[in-house]
Amino acid sequence: MKFDQLVLPHLDAAYNLARWITRDDHDARDVTQEAALRAFRFLDGLRGEPRPWLLALVRNACMTWLKANRPAELSGIDSLPAELLPVEENTPETIALRAVDRRMLNEALAALPAFFREALILRELEDLSYRDIARITDAPIGTVMSRLARARRLLADSLRAIQNASAPQVHE
C-alpha cells in the first residue's frame, strides 16, 4: 500500500516534530494521528519528497493545536528583530557546548519560543535544508535563516545562564 511505503517510514519524524512543538506525549499523539490521516486522504496530492510533505501536515496540525490550546506561544514572537551572531563576542565563560549536560540541553531547547524551537528541530534533528524548512513552516527562506540564528543565540544564552547559576563560584 502506498501509505505504508510513503508515510509510515516517516512516522517517527512526524511524532518527533509534534512532540517538540506540543511538548506533551498525549497531544503529540493526537496531532500526529490527525496529520497522518490527512496524509492518507491527500496521498494523491503528494509531489516530491514524502518526508517534508508529511512534516508540513504535522506542522499545520500543530499550529492549529497551539492556536486552540496555547495561543500565547504564537503571539508576537516573530516580530522580534533578527539578531546576528556577534562575532567579536569571545567571553571566557563560553561553555564547551559539546560537553553540555543532556538534560540541561533538552530543557533549554524545550524552553525556546515555538517558531525558534521548530526551526532548530527541523534543521538539527531532521537534517532538512533551508528550502524544506521554509516549505514546512510556511515562511520565506530569509525568515528561516533569521529564526535559526536567533534560536541558536537564545539557546546559547540560556545554557550559559543555567551553567552560571549552577556554578556561581567560577566567575571570571
Binding site: 516517516h10 490521516l37 518526508r51 551572531l85
Partner: protein, 254 residues
C-alpha cells in the same frame, strides 16, 4: 569583509547552505580572524551537541495500531462518524469490505499475517544486529582493507556488494560477515564510529524500495538504494550521523 557580514553568513556556512563563491570569501575571513573562527567553532559545537544529545522522540508503538485501523478501510469514516443508512443501501459491498478491513487491521496489528516486505526486512536486520551484538560476533572477516573484504564477500555470495572505505570521514571499516535476511544470504559490512558499531546490510534490490528512516527499540534504522543494491543501516548511533553514513555510502565510488 567585516565581522558583521561574516556573522550574517556564518549560520548558512555551518549549515552547508552558503553558496560556494561566498564560502571562499568567508573562509578567507575566518583564516585571518581568530574571533570569527571561534564563533564558527561555537556554532559547530552547538549543532553537534543538539544532534548528539537532544531527545529524539520516536513514535510510540501504540500510535501505529489505531492509525492502521483508520486507514485500512475507506468505509471506516462514514460508518463510524455519521451513520447514513442510505449509503449502505447504495453500496451493498461496503459492509463486507469493512469487515475484511477490520480483520486485516487486526491481523496486521497483532502480527498474525505476514507483515509487509519493508516491515519484515526492518525486523530481520534489527534482530540480526542485536544478535551479533549480544554474541559479540560482529564479523567473520576482520579487516579495514576494502580490497580484502570485497573478495571475501564476493566469493561467498552470488553478487558482489560495493565495499567503501570511509575512514577519512570518521567511519572505520572493521570487517564483514554473512547473515541471512529476506530469505537469502546477505553481506553485512561492519563500520565503527567512536564506540558505536554500525551494521550495513547490502543485498540486491528487489524492485523500488521504501526509504526507511526510523527508530525502534533504541536503534536507528535507515535504508536506501544505490546501483541496484539495497542498503540497510542499523546502529545505536544517533540518526544524524547515521544519515551522514547513508549519504556517504550512497555517493562515494566503490
Amino acid at each position: 569583509m567585516t565581522n558583521e557580514e561574516a556573522g550574517a553568513m556564518l549560520h548558512a556556512y555551518v549549515d552547508g547552505e552558503l553558496e560556494p563563491s561566498r564560502c571562499v570569501e568567508l573562509e578567507a575571513h575566518l583564516a585571518a580572524n581568530p574571533a570569527a573562527r571561534a564563533a564558527c567553532e561555537r556554532l559547530r559545537g552547538m549543532s553537534a551537541a543538539i544532534r548528539e544529545k537532544a531527545d529524539y522522540h520516536a513514535a510510540p508503538a501504540t500510535l501505529l495500531g489505531p492509525l492502521l485501523a483508520q486507514v485500512s478501510g475507506p468505509a471506516a469514516s462514514p460508518a463510524t462518524s455519521a451513520p447514513r443508512p442510505s449509503i449502505w443501501r447504495l453500496l451493498p459491498g461496503t459492509g463486507v469490505a469493512m469487515a475484511a478491513a477490520a480483520f486485516l487491521t487486526w491481523t496486521i496489528a497483532t502480527g498474525y499475517l505476514r507483515p509487509g516486505e519493508t516491515e519484515r526486512i526492518t525486523q530481520e536486520v534489527l534482530s540480526s544486529h542485536v544478535r551479533a551484538t549480544l554474541a559479540q560476533h560482529s564479523f567473520d572477516v576482520a579487516s579495514s582493507d576494502q580490497h580484502t573484504v570485497k573478495p571475501w564477500l564476493s566469493s561467498r555470495l552470488n553478487y558482489s556488494p560495493p565495499v567503501i572505505d570511509l575512514s577519512a570521514q570518521g567511519f572505520e571499516l572493521r570487517g564483514a560477515r554473512l547473515d541471512y535476511v529476506g530469505g537469502q544470504p546477505v553481506a553485512v559490512l561492519v563500520y565503527q564510529r567512536r564506540h558505536h558499531v554500525i551494521d550495513a546490510y547490502v543485498r540486491p534490490a528487489h524492485g523500488p524500495a521504501a526509504a526507511v528512516s526510523l527508530t525502534r527499540d533504541g536503534f536507528n534504522i535507515q535504508s536506501f538504494a544505490r546501483d541496484g543494491m539495497e542498503f540497510w543501516l542499523v546502529s545505536d548511533l544517533n540518526r544524524n550521523e547515521l544519515s551522514d553514513l547513508a549519504r556517504l555510502l550512497a555517493q562515494n565510488p566503490a
